[in-house]
């Protein structure tokens, strides 16, 4: 390319060339989240939005939505939708209540002994997966659109939650059970005391943060080295280092804040684990790649030998299990299984996925994007609460954010 044409393209043109291979949409959404955090830090009284406790709240209050969003983004990439997850979470919360807490009297369940907390959780997740089998059967093997199947499921599971709970609540849960939704790793900071750390810092939180940052760099460098070895194009190095330094700084900052609150919430550990696993599933397993292929072009996927029915079936089983986990988190956090639990959460999960860059037509979307989408909603809600914005205005703003995020996608696609 000649110098003249380079000059004509100017700074922005040159930059966009340099940024080739960089996913602007994905990074844009990340910057939007950052912007929101800064905005609320500046506007909330005494910067209440960035106090250690508030960071901690942000995680535990949004954990169950994020868990739902992980399953939801997979469903949406394949070109389906799941409207039943909120109701399913409520039903599973109820099941967990029955399994773990002393069962209700005169409800027909009294033959069942109360299970240990871990067995209750596993049982509840198994029931969730079974519900997924039910929905997956109708979608994949009977061929009823997921919208209909899960719309029916939305009523069905809410009804079953009510039946299971007989219009009352079950609780309280044992402490170990509650810890998943509400607990922190070494909240008493026994380790910190033992090694003589200043008492306002939680030792495990600092260790976990350090390990997290190490893991980020280890993975990033390893991937980049592999790509270079195979001659694959890579992000420009300024971008590679810039991005990972920014990410590490964020992690360090949040980790440092959490260490000054109660430490690392168990919910966060669970979430990080799920995000890592499911990102790998989506990018690196045949199952995940088949999901993208099905969403991208169903016919082509079929004709290349992908067993579309089986993939669709397992997608819903997986969603059922994740919705169950979400239900457990909700019950643990509220310390009680209630019939109204998870009301409308399916819509929050779906919004997270679309704000996170998934396409309505399917074939496009990422787990991390959906997490950022979920956090944008979470930060927005949390910030507006701190600013004492009324629920009416909150709903209006959240609706507009969803619409604009997707509109931005459509516009940028049309411009190409």
């Amino acid at each position: 390319m000649s110098d003249a044409s380079n000059a004509k393209k100017g700074f922005l043109g040159g930059l966009s060339e340099k940024l080739e291979g960089v996913n602007l949409r994905q990074n844009g959404i990340f910057l939007a989240l950052l912007g929101l955090i800064i905005f609320f830090a500046a506007t909330t009284p005494n910067a209440a939005s960035i106090t250690p406790t508030n960071w901690s709240n942000l995680v535990v209050q949004n954990g169950y939505i994020l868990v739902l969003a992980i399953g939801m983004v997979m469903i949406i990439i394949a070109g389906h939708i799941d409207l039943s997850v909120g109701s399913l979470a409520a039903f599973i919360g109820a099941v967990a209540g029955v399994l773990v807490v002393r069962p209700l009297e005169q409800d027909g369940w009294d033959w069942l002994p109360a299970l240990p907390w871990w067995a209750g959780i596993l049982g509840a997740i198994a029931v969730g997966a079974l519900v997924g089998v039910w929905q997956g059967y109708w979608v994949a093997y009977v061929g009823i659109p997921a919208f209909i199947v899960t719309l029916a499921g939305m009523l069905l599971f809410r009804g079953m939650a009510l039946m299971t709970l007989q219009n009352s609540n079950i609780g309280p849960f044992p402490d170990e059970f509650r810890a998943i939704g509400n607990g922190f790793l070494d909240k008493e900071n026994a380790l910190g005391t033992a090694i003589g750390l200043p008492e306002q810092f939680n030792a495990w939180a600092l260790i976990a943060t350090a390990l997290g940052i190490l893991a980020i760099w280890f993975q990033a460098v390893r991937t980049r080295a592999g790509r270079i070895k195979y001659g694959q194009p890579t992000e420009p190095s300024f971008w590679f280092f810039g991005k990972n330094i920014a990410l590490s700084t964020m992690v360090a900052y949040v980790g440092f804040q959490l260490s000054q609150a109660n430490g690392i919430p168990y919910t966060l550990i669970l979430l990080v684990f799920l995000i890592v696993i499911y990102t790998m599933v989506m990018n690196k397993t045949t199952f995940g790649r088949h999901i993208y292929a099905i969403g991208g072009n169903l016919h082509a996927a079929m004709l290349s030998g992908i067993n579309v029915r089986r993939v669709n079936f397992w997608l819903f089983v997986n969603m059922g299990a994740l919705a169950a986990l979400s239900g457990v988190l909700i019950a643990a956090r509220m310390n009680s299984a209630v019939p109204k639990a998870g009301d409308g959460f399916e819509l929050d999960a779906i919004s997270s996925v679309f704000i996170g860059g998934a396409a309505v037509q399917g074939g496009v979307g990422t787990v991390t994007g959906s997490m950022v989408g979920g956090l944008i909603q979470g930060v927005l809600g949390n910030g507006m609460n701190l600013l004492s914005v009324g629920i009416d205005a909150q709903m209006t703003i959240k609706g507009l954010v969803l619409l604009l995020a997707v509109a931005f996608d459509v516009w940028s696609k049309n411009r190409k």
Binding site: R227, K229, Y230, H299, G305
Partner: protein, 512 residues
């Protein structure tokens, strides 16, 4: 003014393709004018220019209709002047009644509301005109294809049609319905309605048309006067295929090995209309190193045969046997067919072949993803390496294999499709219209790829609507007509005339 229509020197180009090159057409008032040509010759494009689907300004040349120059911007404008086109795939709404369909987008209203009494009354009149004996409120989905065709014509009449264009009107009809339709066209002619008919059924054309214009490679070849029965099918065929064979096909000497693929007594029924036989007791075989052609007009059952063999991906009630390397294989699922060594590259790569929003390397690995799995995880570096090697060997023109497939040209997309299937390491590749919609240079490259494949000892079946292509690259050609394999010719025997004769051979009537 004797001519109702004159199209003068129409030229229409698409990126990279000249679909119509200086085509002229004259249609007299009250005449049935047939247009003949091979698939892809430009017939439909010409009709789309006439009806305004391709608006004025997107083509060169002039359309004189009723003595005036016309500049249609859309179908509405051409219909307003009495030009109505009935497409091969009928444009009826199956859940609406006959009357509703006839007056769709042309509703009879009274004070802003639909006047149902008059709608049904008028519909009844039109239905009587076309000889359709049904109630006006019968749903279109409840009547057969033949009657649906009549509904389309009634709809055209309701728009005061003066020039009726029918694209393959009898392709989906049985003999009785066909002859009824042709009678109706004669009747309309006597009422002064002119008609352009596009058809592959040459015997019908010979019996009904007053004039026949032949189009080949986007050019008008000749207009034959059909009066007096001087022009027979052979004469039309000669006009359709009689082109000089240029050096468009790379020379190749085949090295034939033993039989690699065989289909025996293969019968397939339509997936919805389960009584309809679409492939009728087909038998064919392919040897290693052999390029075998499958010729047939559209709808003859070529693709249906291929897709039913490929994992029963089309059709119902399929019977027969498939052998690969002499061993019978189970092709009931696509995975099974692929594992047995069969690959099928679709005729419609955008709809059925590619994930257009994904990149080249992932499209190439799509049908063979298992090969890239290491310790349970897909190795994307390996995908990149394999994809890049195909990019080089197939000459896929893209900056890298990370380019999005939807942005490639047709020829390059086709090379991605071929790479995708070659990477499944098949014994036999069925290539359905492998050069459709791609330019001449890329076609040549595709031919070379096909020859390379057979030189490696694979068998290849090429399905194509272009006879010269089949004659140019195939070692042996089967012809299929109405689901029956009607003939077979080696490279030495094959000629356009012979194949066209096989391809238009009609089923022997066993009953009536």
């Amino acid at each position: 003014m004797n001519n109702i229509l004159e199209m003068r020197n129409i030229t229409k180009t698409f990126p990279g393709v000249r679909a119509l090159d200086n085509v002229s057409l004259e249609v007299k008032r009250g005449e049935i004018h047939a247009i003949c040509g091979e698939n892809g010759a430009g017939k439909s494009t010409l009709m789309k220019v006439l009806s305004g689907v391709y608006p004025h300004g997107t083509y060169e040349g002039d359309i004189f209709y009723e003595g005036e120059i016309q500049a249609f911007k859309n179908i509405r404008e051409s219909e307003a002047k009495g030009i109505v086109i009935i497409h091969q795939e009928l444009a009826l709404s199956p859940h609406l009644s006959i009357a509703e369909n006839i007056f769709l987008n042309n509703e009879i209203t009274k004070r802003g509301l639909i006047d149902w009494n008059r709608t049904n009354q008028e519909a009844q009149k039109l239905m009587a005109k076309v000889g359709l004996r049904e109630k006006p409120d019968t749903k279109v989905m409840e009547i057969g294809v033949g009657k649906q065709q009549l509904v389309e014509i009634a709809k055209a009449l309701s728009k005061q049609v003066r020039l009726l264009i029918l694209d393959e009107p009898t392709a989906a009809l049985n003999d009785e319905d066909s002859s009824h339709l042709l009678d109706l066209l004669r009747q309309l002619r006597s009422q002064g309605i002119s008609c352009i008919i596009i058809s592959h059924k040459l015997n019908e054309i010979a019996s009904i048309a007053d004039k026949t214009t032949i189009i080949r490679d986007g050019k008008t070849i000749e207009t034959l006067d059909m009066a007096g029965g001087k022009v027979d099918q052979e004469r039309i065929i000669k006009g359709m295929v009689g082109r000089e064979m240029e050096n468009r096909y790379p020379a190749h000497t085949p090295t034939l090995g033993e039989e690699v693929f065989r289909v025996e007594n293969w019968t397939v029924h339509h997936p919805e209309d389960k009584a309809r036989v679409v492939v009728d007791n087909a038998n064919l075989y392919v040897r290693r190193g052999e390029i075998v052609g499958l010729a047939g007009i559209m709808g003859a059952g070529r693709t249906e045969l291929a897709r039913s063999v490929f994992g029963h991906s089309w059709g119902s009630n399929i019977s027969g046997k498939v052998f690969v390397n002499g061993k019978e294989v189970d092709v009931r699922t696509i995975r099974g067919a692929i594992d047995a060594g069969i690959a099928y590259a679709t005729e419609d790569r955008k709809r059925f072949g590619l994930n257009l929003i994904d990149d080249i390397k992932r499209n190439i690995s799509m049908a063979s993803l298992k090969k890239f799995v290491k310790r349970g995880l897909v190795d994307d570096n390996e995908e990149f390496r394999v994809g890049s090697s195909y990019r080089e060997s197939m000459n896929i023109k893209a900056p890298s294999v990370l380019s999005i497939v939807g942005k490639l040209s047709g020829g390059n997309q086709q090379k991605v499709v071929l790479s995708q299937w070659i990477n499944t390491a098949p014994e036999i590749l069925i290539l359905d219209e492998p050069t459709r919609g791609i330019d001449v240079g890329a076609k040549y490259e595709i031919y070379l790829i096909i020859q390379r494949l057979v030189d490696e000892g694979k068998g290849v079946i090429v399905i194509s609507s272009e006879l010269p292509e089949l004659l140019g690259i195939c070692d042996r050609i089967y012809a299929i007509s109405e689901g029956v394999i009607t003939g077979e010719a080696t490279r030495a025997e094959a000629s356009p005339e012979l194949l066209m004769k096989y391809m238009t051979k009609e089923k022997e009537k066993s009953n009536v």
